[in-house]
Subunit: 358 residues, 3 copies
């Protein structure tokens, strides 16, 4: 790990130093675990006591919090306006990824007519098929498969056993995690009658997956190639683990999608959306820009306006659930009973009061 002073960090991140800018840092850790030589992160007021007690050598502190402190923190501090972005950048500076030497591991299988930049690293067991193109400074971990005619842009990092199927295109600086699959066949089936009762015919999937720049794709996530047109993942999209993106989906730039989400075929998701874990979106929908979908939500209709959308059942003790959920099967009947009551009340003569009586 590199050694940097707090002042070095300031040179990269901006902000102002409180205390000793020469304190030497060789890593970062949580407030609880940080020790000498380590940077800690005070990302919110609720961690203030923990920060005061931390053995961290220095702290990154949000400006808004620093301004409100009545007594200074015991550590040297770098006070910044945008703490989350600085948190990310400081970690990248203090924990740079090791960059393996360029070259093709002797156990890799590389087709004669593919193009691999001399600065790229091709790991053990990788298979690069005919016509594939690997850009400068790409790093491919063990057992990656780049299909015929597929291409990776500049400085992509593919961890172990990533599969990019034939013809797919990945832009610059992609990060693809282990087990992810780009360009598997979409689930295209056509029903074919036959005397035995019929069967499914496979619809060949001749589109591609086209992935923009600065995209991250999580472990064991799958993105299907288009049926005729392409499946498109725009610039800056971030996908977590175990996500399924079906054929012909289009995900707008800078949309972030958490783990276990499924998106059925031909759905278009706008830009700057945030989709919570395990949300499920059916096919052929349009989701507007700047939409937030809560975790666990099922989306079965277009969302045409920015905002937050939800559809989940609240958690209950099982005994309570048994009692309550039974009524969900009779909600229509219940609503009708309420309507009947309303009518009965309305049809009653105005209640007579003693004064009105004859």
């Amino acid at each position: 790990m590199p050694s940097l002073t707090l002042a070095d960090l300031q040179a990269h991140l901006g902000g102002t130093i409180r205390g000793d800018g020469n304190v030497l840092l060789n890593g970062a850790a949580s407030l609880e675990k940080a020790g000498p030589g380590q940077l800690g992160f005070l990302l919110g007021r609720k961690f203030l006591e923990q920060a005061r007690a931390s053995a961290a050598a220095a702290l990154l502190v949000p400006e808004v919090l620093a301004m409100s402190l009545t007594e200074p923190l015991p550590q040297a501090c770098l006070v910044v306006a945008n703490p989350h972005a600085c948190f990310a950048r400081a970690l990248a500076l203090l924990h740079p990824e090791p960059m393996p030497a360029p070259g093709i591991h002797p156990s890799a299988s590389v087709a004669a007519d593919c193009s691999i930049d001399a600065t790229a690293r091709i790991g053990p067991g990788c298979v690069i098929e005919a016509g594939a193109r690997i850009g400068a400074h790409c790093v491919l971990g063990p057992h990656c498969v780049i299909g015929a005619g597929a291409s990776l842009g500049y400085a992509c990092h593919l961890h172990a056993r990533v599969t990019v199927q034939h013809g797919c295109v990945v832009g610059d600086r992609a990060i693809l995690h282990p087990g992810s699959v780009i360009g598997s066949d979409g689930f295209g089936l056509a029903w074919d009658a036959d005397p035995g009762g019929g069967h499914w015919l496979k619809v060949p999937q001749v589109g591609r997956v086209v992935v923009g720049d600065d995209v991250e794709i999580g472990a064991n996530t799958t993105i299907d190639r288009g049926a005729l047109d392409d499946t498109v993942i725009e610039d800056g999209v971030k996908l977590d683990n175990l996500i399924q993106v079906a054929h012909n989906c289009h995900i707008g730039r800078h949309t972030a999608i958490a783990g276990c989400v499924g998106i059925a075929g031909s759905t278009r998701i706008g830009t700057y959306c945030q989709i919570g874990g395990a949300a499920m979106i059916i096919g052929h929908l349009e989701i507007a820009d700047h939409v937030t979908i809560s975790s666990g939500t099922f989306v079965a209709k277009d969302i045409r306006e920015a905002g937050t959308y939800t559809s989940v059942q609240p958690l209950m003790r099982h005994a309570d659930w048994l009692r309550n959920a039974a009524h969900l099967r009779h909600l229509d009947a219940l609503a009708k009973r309420v309507k009947t009551l309303e009518k009965q009340i309305a049809d009653q003569p105005a209640p007579t009061t003693p004064m009105e009586r004859p």
Copy 2:
């Protein structure tokens, strides 16, 4: 890609030609993207204007639509009775999969006593263990693992890094997508008391997975081997990506299951079922033939009759959801309050009218 005339297609697909049957085709594309030499697909009336504007050289058109046209389409047309099946077949004719030359890649690890047909293709890094059998015209992509004693039938296509564990049987013409796992251990646990509070014992899983003919299994889908008996996937079943099929499930022929579905242990699903994405089916259930389960649906009881079944929450704006969902925890109380009201109304004396008054 091959070059075929529209008349060549007609020879394979049937139907009638309107316009020039000699138009040459070398591929297919969407109506929007198709250009000269490409076949387009007009699969429904709502795409009619798009079809008229398409640069496609020829169109595949459903008979029922063609008969109702008041003015002919500008392109040569092949009019067919079963458009979806013809769509699949035309794509397969115009975009045939490249068939790699037979042979075993030198980097594959092949046990001495396995049986690999001379027409099969074994890709780089594949591992074929003792006693495994690979049928004629099988194609195994990179890094497939065929466990001891497992077998693949005729003309199976395994894409990159498919794992078929020991003893499992796959029929003819299977298509297995990257990362799929056939025959992982079922989740079999037995509770064992001990002075420390108890622990789980693994129940060895000694059954197999038996997959019929013409089955397709999606990327990163997992199918567990049976505990004692086998897990069975019958002929013609189609499984999308990221599906979990637990031990001892039995899936009837020609059932199609969309992505992200989970099926817990020992559940039997009938023939010709359609299960929407992210549906979840608990264990030890029986699902009848010809059942459709909507996307996102949770199935916790047997389904004994054909039909469509659903259990999802409708999507709401988050603020509406907050207001509405709170009542789900008190639905039983609400129903009781309605009952009380009904009783109160019923117990009221019939409203007296002025005429009746003494």
Copy 3:
């Protein structure tokens, strides 16, 4: 397979023999499929008739059931107090896993400075990176990747293509199924403003995954490394297939989690919990010890007390669902209408009875 007498089994499992203890067993099977030489399992009274009709050579029978039989079973029986645990142990004795010879397959890529115990088996295509440590009697199937500085304890069994990323620690006797990924990056993103509308910055994930002893992890399950601190999986935890465990989760010992579950970041799950398939747990929660979460349940708040918790929609015929679910969007309005009715009824004068009339 080994040949054991029923008396041999008794020596390992305890219990009492009814009938011929010398009956020879070479395997186990279901009551329906068991034949001569095979052990069957009578695990509950409802299988009694099936057991009587079974061709099994011997049966394992729960004590409580054996005591209540009015006529003896036709087979030799081993009567045991803890049938499920004995079921697991008997299967392990009758179907021992083949243990491959120690050694490193010549196609494996092994860094010069890693440490591999001489009793370990490293399969074809495995990649063991610098500084990794592989304990005694570990068995690694084909294409496993052990990242730099990662370690496996004693007698771990990694099936095909398991990935353990750099620095992660796995304890003794772990069983990791195909495609599982330990130590992929957590989904850590920081929003960074820019003139173009902003973008996500990757937060480097510098924590590890630390897995205890006797842990089993299912096929294609993913466990992310911590952001700063570690993700922790304690001793005896059992995870099924296609589970996502996000960064900094902590799963207590002997908790069992079924397939397709997602657990978002920093959530702590207690000891001895059972989580049903496809449950989804949001981030930063605390789940107490001995909590059971039903299949398909969405957990969005802390669970502080042991017990069973549920939140799912009941299944309906689609037509019923359409009728009922529409009201979920108006549940708040319905509750208000009931309240109004209650007020109207309460405000009515006490109904006059004939006696009270003037």
